[in-house]
């Protein structure tokens, strides 16, 4: 410490209020008001904006169902895949959706362990987003199997085929275990977090069928301090378990690529690169969803501009890590001296899919750099635009990694181009339809803000101001 810092502060100079101790939600918001406002969407009639969005989402879902039905009935040949490019839209969408899910777990688990209070108003919807995104992701490997009714073959069970077991050395099988574990733990964590809120809803609802449903969902919760004490222990343990889990999921997804010998895939940088990209894309999607939701549902004082600003900072950090990873890949390709590797990257930036590559660089690396500017971070319109760009950029990242590496690898005689068919586009549209249908239903059926967590933050904030 410098001597001047030790000098007594003159009483005439009022110190500026320290910004860090400002409560995230105004302490004068009473607990009762929090319940009222969070309950409001569950008991009121949906507005025109919600109905229109829901209709649009269901329409997109219907397009998806039709595309998948046609694909399953006819065969995977209705996609634009060929002998060279065996993975394209489906695996791109799979990795894209799995990545989206990661922000939810980061917010609910990692930020819980780091005691970040701002997570409380967004954790519930981010967790919901995780679950819906993982569901969307799970659709793609299933339909890529061609015969999805035999999907249970990936589960090792005693069968009449030998028993012929699954191959535990394959990263694709690791994926099965990683994604199912991730979905299960996320669902359990999400539900556990909602139990006290269901009890609040139950006790606020007049007797009737609605109350009976809340009563069943609330598991007989009565707010006992002894239960709360164990509940907090369990939540912390689950957060501790979910943290390595979420890192392992995208690590294993990246190993689907990294364990192969294909130029552009065979790289040790993939696991951290994929995890950072997943968090980046997830925060992009969280921002998109929450900016819409807070405006439509009038939740601006729960999801304030400060909340958006913090998320923007996470996006800036992870986006910069992703940018660094892109640069590292190019450096390694050049420095490694392997001609195939070097060509894969030259082809990425200047080959027939270069436009995809440059969209990716623009959306993921260049555009988020604007977030260094405080005014951009605090502008809802700018953040919304940037979050959409990040969603687009991260989709293209997966497309670039998968398709540019596959379409020109070791054997020039096999080089070819990939073009998606209308069925593949329809399936992608359908996955967005599934995601938004689930999310829109969620915000009207379940408490989208964790009431008890927000109350705890405001309650403790009022305690500090009293002292």
């Amino acid at each position: 410490m410098t001597p001047s810092a030790l000098a007594p502060v003159s009483p005439q100079k009022p110190r500026p209020a320290p910004r860090l101790v400002q409560p995230w939600i105004a302490a004068d918001v009473s607990a009762r008001r929090i319940t009222d406002e969070v309950m409001h969407p569950l008991i009121s009639r949906p507005g025109a904006a919600w109905l229109a969005s829901f209709a649009l989402a269901v329409l997109a879902l219907a397009v998806g169902v039709a595309s998948v039905a046609y694909e399953v009935a006819t065969g995977v040949g209705v996609w634009g895949l060929n002998k060279t490019v065996g993975w394209a839209f489906d695996i791109t969408n799979f990795v894209f959706w799995i990545g989206i899910g990661h922000a939810g777990t980061l917010i609910s688990a990692i930020l819980l362990l780091l005691r970040q209070q701002w997570r409380t108003s967004i954790s519930r919807s981010a967790e919901a987003m995780t679950i819906f995104a993982v569901l969307c992701a799970a659709v793609f490997p299933l339909i890529h199997m061609g015969r999805p009714w035999l999907a249970f073959w990936v589960i090792p069970y005693p069968n009449s085929r030998g028993p012929l077991w699954v191959n535990f050395r394959s990263p694709l099988l690791w994926d099965v275990f990683a994604i199912n574990t991730y979905l299960t733990i996320s669902l359990v964590f999400w539900y556990l977090g909602m139990i006290p809120d269901f009890a609040t809803l139950r006790d606020r609802t007049a007797a009737g069928s609605r109350r009976l449903v809340y009563s069943l969902l609330s598991f007989g919760w009565n707010g006992s301090a002894r239960t709360w004490s164990r509940y907090e222990t369990a939540t912390t343990i689950l957060a501790g378990l979910a943290t390595p889990l979420v890192i392992s999921v995208h690590t294993i997804v990246s190993m689907d690529f990294a364990t192969s010998v294909l130029p552009g895939w065979h790289s040790t940088v993939f696991p951290p690169y994929f995890v950072a990209g997943a968090v980046f894309s997830g925060f992009g999607m969280v921002l998109t969803l929450l900016i819409i939701t807070r405006t439509v549902m009038h939740l601006e004082h729960y999801i304030s501009i400060r909340h958006l600003e913090v998320m923007a900072k996470v996006m800036l950090l992870t986006g910069s890590i992703v940018g660094l990873a892109y640069a590292l890949e190019f450096f390694n390709a050049w420095y490694g001296g392997n001609v195939y590797e070097r060509y894969a990257f030259v082809n990425r930036a200047s080959g027939p899919y270069a436009w995809c590559f440059w969209i990716m660089v623009l959306c993921n690396v260049l555009a988020p750099q604007l977030l260094w500017i405080r005014r951009v971070r605090r502008s809802v319109a700018a953040l919304f635009l940037l979050s959409i760009m990040v969603n687009i950029g991260m989709w293209f990242e997966r497309f670039v990694i998968i398709v540019t590496s596959l379409h020109r690898s070791y054997l020039p005689s096999s080089w070819t181009m990939y073009r998606p068919t209308i069925i593949e586009v329809g399936t992608l549209v359908g996955s967005f339809g599934l995601f938004f249908t689930c999310f829109l239903a969620f915000i009207r059926v379940l408490p989208m803000i964790a009431m008890w967590e927000v109350k705890a933050v405001t309650g403790h904030a009022s305690e500090t101001t009293h002292e």
């Binding site: 191959n167 535990f168 690791w174 007989g220 006992s224 301090a225 709360w228 222990t233």
Partner: protein
């Protein structure tokens, strides 16, 4: 919790403010009385210490679940790949232990997490068909309730006053809403 946990021999003090609640819990315990339970809409700071709640033993369930998941996953992978049907996949050894780690890791997390939640639900008696024994509808909303056993307090008429002095909004003997 016994079957008639909220028969009328309980004294229920309602509080609006968590700080006063913790103060009252401290005062009641300093007087040598046992707090039956406290009901709150959210976990309250420093209430565990004030009530003398011991550290939860849930981590033991986590450990047991984790160990079970890890051992059974590795044992199963070895049984399948080495003993039951060894299959040459790309010339890799039957016992490809390193490649068995990811699945074992996932199953460790899965079973540790499920064991923790199962232990929590069993220990706290949380289950869909359980009827909530709520001391008052407001304790899941914005109020705090301090509950004492009346048969202790019957011999100490000062307790009621003590609770009011510590900021209780209302002290009453009441039965639980069923």
């Amino acid at each position: 919790m016994s079957e008639n946990a909220f028969a009328p021999e309980f004294l229920v003090a309602m509080f609006d403010d968590q700080r006063r609640l913790v103060g009252a819990v401290n005062a009641v315990r300093a007087r040598g009385l046992r707090v039956h339970d406290v009901y709150a809409p959210y976990p309250v700071h420093r209430l565990d210490e004030a009530m003398g709640i011991r550290r939860s033993r849930l981590p033991l369930a986590t450990l047991a679940g984790g160990v079970l998941g890890l051992v059974s996953a590795l044992a199963f992978e070895l049984y399948v790949s080495v003993y039951d049907w060894p299959l040459n996949v790309g010339g890799k050894p039957d016992n490809s232990m390193l490649a068995f780690i990811p699945v074992a890791f996932e199953l460790t997390i899965l079973s540790a997490g499920l064991a923790t939640v199962a232990a929590l639900l069993l220990r706290c008696r949380l289950f869909p068909t359980i009827r909530p024994r709520v001391v008052g509808r407001s304790v899941t909303d914005d109020q705090f309730a301090l509950v004492l056993r009346w048969r202790h307090t019957a011999f100490d008429p000062q307790v009621e006053r003590l609770l009011y002095e510590h900021g209780a909004r209302d002290v009453s003997r009441k039965a639980i809403e069923r």
